[in-house]
Amino acid sequence: MSEEITMKKIDTFAEHGDGNQPHETHLSIRDFSLFYGDFEAVRKVNMDIPKKMVTAMIGPSGCGKSTLLRSINRMNDLIPSTSAAGEINFEGHNIYARNIDVVTLRARVGMVFQKPNVFPKSIFDNVAYGPRLQGMRNKQELSEIVEQSLRQAAIWDEVKDRLQANALGMSGGQQQRLCIARALAIKPEILLMDEPTSALDPKATALIEDLIGELRQNYTIVIVTHNMQQAARVSDLTAFMYEGVLVEFGKTKQLFTNPANPQTENYITGRFG
């Protein structure tokens, strides 16, 4: 019976989700825990995130999926009294090691946030922010990279005539795609997305999902989502987390159609969460 409900709820899977060939691991998370003070928000997670695939994280609110995502580029450092244990290895280096430069890490692991957080600057300056940070001053090069990033984020046609306009004048969906363009402009290797469509309407959501499908060819993408159908539509692999614990992690189709763990099954069939 649960099989039927699942199949009714999830009607589309990412078409690229077959992936039988083995993929190179891009990020390997080993016994990773993250504490807010005494509270263990992420508990000893072990996970291998493959290169150039979309990995989705699902789970009820407060299960630690966003915290885990934000741990990958150490955004949790901003919150006072957090501490981490275990390792997250990125190309063989533990990003929580002492000698890691957080600034460089964040330049290689880009992030798109839940709410579109464009700067109150022009569209051009928003996208050029990252490249300028890395010392790019040449106007020609900058405008090339801005155009390229905006094209990748599928927003170029909408904004090419008003690059100097303030980014806050755009619609929410446009702003979020601008944020993606901004993240792409620093040419990251991994793109983290923290519920990127939760503040958007269905049309804008569809645009962003299409975009994710295209970006997977070049980037490793990790996306946190509340929307299980979205996870099913865009991801190759899905991780289900509950109360800080990684309950199940596997191919998306398999996890949704034939979950190994009864908790996963309960969640995706809508019995809780």
């Binding site: 957080n117 109150p120 303030n166």
Partner: protein
């Protein structure tokens, strides 16, 4: 609570709010109206021929030919006065000694009053004091002096049970039957011809130096001193304040030390300004000796300490109000902390920071107590910019106080006092206006 009661309370509350706003507006009006009205009289008034003489001789301003014409007219009108006085002097010589003695003192009084009104008598030696070389420059003052010429003041103690009463007696009564008798009527009738009053717009009041401690001229040294002190205070306080605020918000780890520092800043904001003044004297002038005497530098430093807490607190609040999302976005793109502060947080916090800065600018411009011991003098020339490092300066707030308490001819220069008050209020108002405009522009740019 019943619905009706709630509605009633709601109405009562909004009514109270309206009343308090109205009271505030009325208070503001009551304060500002006299300042503007009386202050404007320093700029726009009926100036006499003497005003134009001062302008021409002391400030090299005006049309000499036109002045000579007017001056000749005035002299013609004044000639009978001096003739009558000469005639009376001759008459006095002819009197017997006792009578002459009786007339001598009252006549001196008339003479003195006339000198104050019209300036020195023809043929008299040029007086040493500048203020005695000219008659009344303002028509309103001329009328006062005319009254003093026409009437003598005497105290009447005839009623032994009551206090003495000041009685004004027409001087003409005393001189009835002498050559001087027609003088008083003549003065009353021909004062306009003698003084040639004309509506004058003396806008140079702000940019003229003062002559003979504010008897003539304008208030430029005070205005310039105020500008120097304010800018100086800003030069020290803005960088220190904003950097401190950034450190407290973005870098410092919350803990006991930081809470203690915050308490200290709040306390500093409440310290009376005279204490800052004494501190400035003790520390900047006596201990580290930034200059040999009082100086604009020492005053600026003292004022900067006074406004530092305000700038820190308002900047802190502005920085904390910047959405966290901006910071995360910037850091997420691989920006370092200081780069995030410089390119994202500060621009977004700028309207709030500016507000704080301007509020404290107004305060620095108007504070008196901190500069009494560290920077202000009563009379001085406008300073060159390098002289600010070592020289004291007159400044509007101090000179307003000084003019109405310590000046030897307070009544003569009321208009200067009001002019100074008006100018100071106008400077602060202009500063606020500039800030509001700037703030609106930046906010608009940020909103998109």
């Amino acid at each position: 609570m019943r619905l009706e009661t709630r509605k009633l309370l709601d109405k009562a509350f909004s009514g109270l709010g309206l009343i308090s706003i109205a009271v505030m507006a009325i208070a503001l009006l009551l304060i500002l109206t006299p300042i503007v009205w009386r202050g404007s009289k320093a700029f726009i008034f009926k100036g006499t021929i003497e005003h134009r003489r001062v302008m021409l001789e002391l400030f090299d301003r005006g049309n000499p030919e036109k002045f000579n014409q007017e001056s000749a007219d005035a002299a013609a009108a004044r000639a009978p006065v001096y003739q009558m006085m000469e005639a009376f002097e001759a008459e006095m010589k002819a009197m017997d000694r006792k009578k002459r003695k009786e007339y001598k003192a009252p006549f001196r009084e008339v003479e003195n009053a006339l000198e104050e009104l019209l300036g020195p008598m023809p043929g008299q030696r040029t007086p040493v004091l500048l203020r005695q070389r000219y008659g009344q420059t303002r028509w309103d003052r001329a009328l006062v002096k005319l009254h003093e010429t026409l009437y003598s003041e005497e105290w009447d103690y005839s009623n032994a049970d009551a206090m003495g009463v000041l009685v004004e007696k027409p001087r003409v009564d005393f001189f009835t039957g002498t050559e001087l008798e027609p003088l008083f009527q003549y003065l009353e009738d021909y004062l306009p011809e003698m003084m040639q009053p004309k509506t004058t717009f003396y806008y140079q009041f702000i940019t003229d130096k003062s002559k003979d401690s504010h008897i003539f001229g304008g208030i430029w040294p005070e205005v310039l001193g105020t500008i120097y002190l304010t800018i100086g205070a800003m030069i020290f306080a803005i960088p220190m304040g904003v950097i401190a605020a950034i450190y407290l918000c973005e870098y410092a780890k919350e803990g006991r030390i930081i809470s203690f520092i915050r308490i200290c800043i709040s306390t500093l904001a409440g310290v009376p300004s005279i204490v800052f003044g004494l501190f400035g004297l003790a520390f900047f002038l006596n201990t580290i000796q930034v200059s040999d005497s009082k100086s604009v530098l020492a005053g600026s430093l003292t004022l900067s300490l006074l406004i530092l807490p305000t700038i820190i607190r308002s900047s802190e609040e502005a920085i904390l109000a910047v959405p966290r999302a901006y910071k995360e976005a910037s850091l997420g793109l691989g920006a370092s902390r200081w780069h995030t502060v410089l390119t994202v947080i500060l621009p977004a916090a700028m309207p709030g920071i500016l507000t704080g800065i301007v509020i404290s600018m107004g305060r620095a411009a108007g504070e008196t107590a901190p500069i009494i011991f560290t920077a202000a003098v009563s009379v001085g020339a406008p300073l060159k910019i390098w002289e600010t490092l070592s020289q004291p300066t007159p400044a509007l707030p101090w000179n307003i106080y000084n003019l109405c308490t310590e000046h030897e001819a307070v009544d003569e220069i009321r208009h200067v006092q009001y002019g100074m008050v008006f100018t100071l209020v106008a400077i602060v108002l202009l500063l606020n206006l500039a800030a509001i405009l700037m703030r609106a522009r930046i906010s608009k740019k940020l909103r998109g």
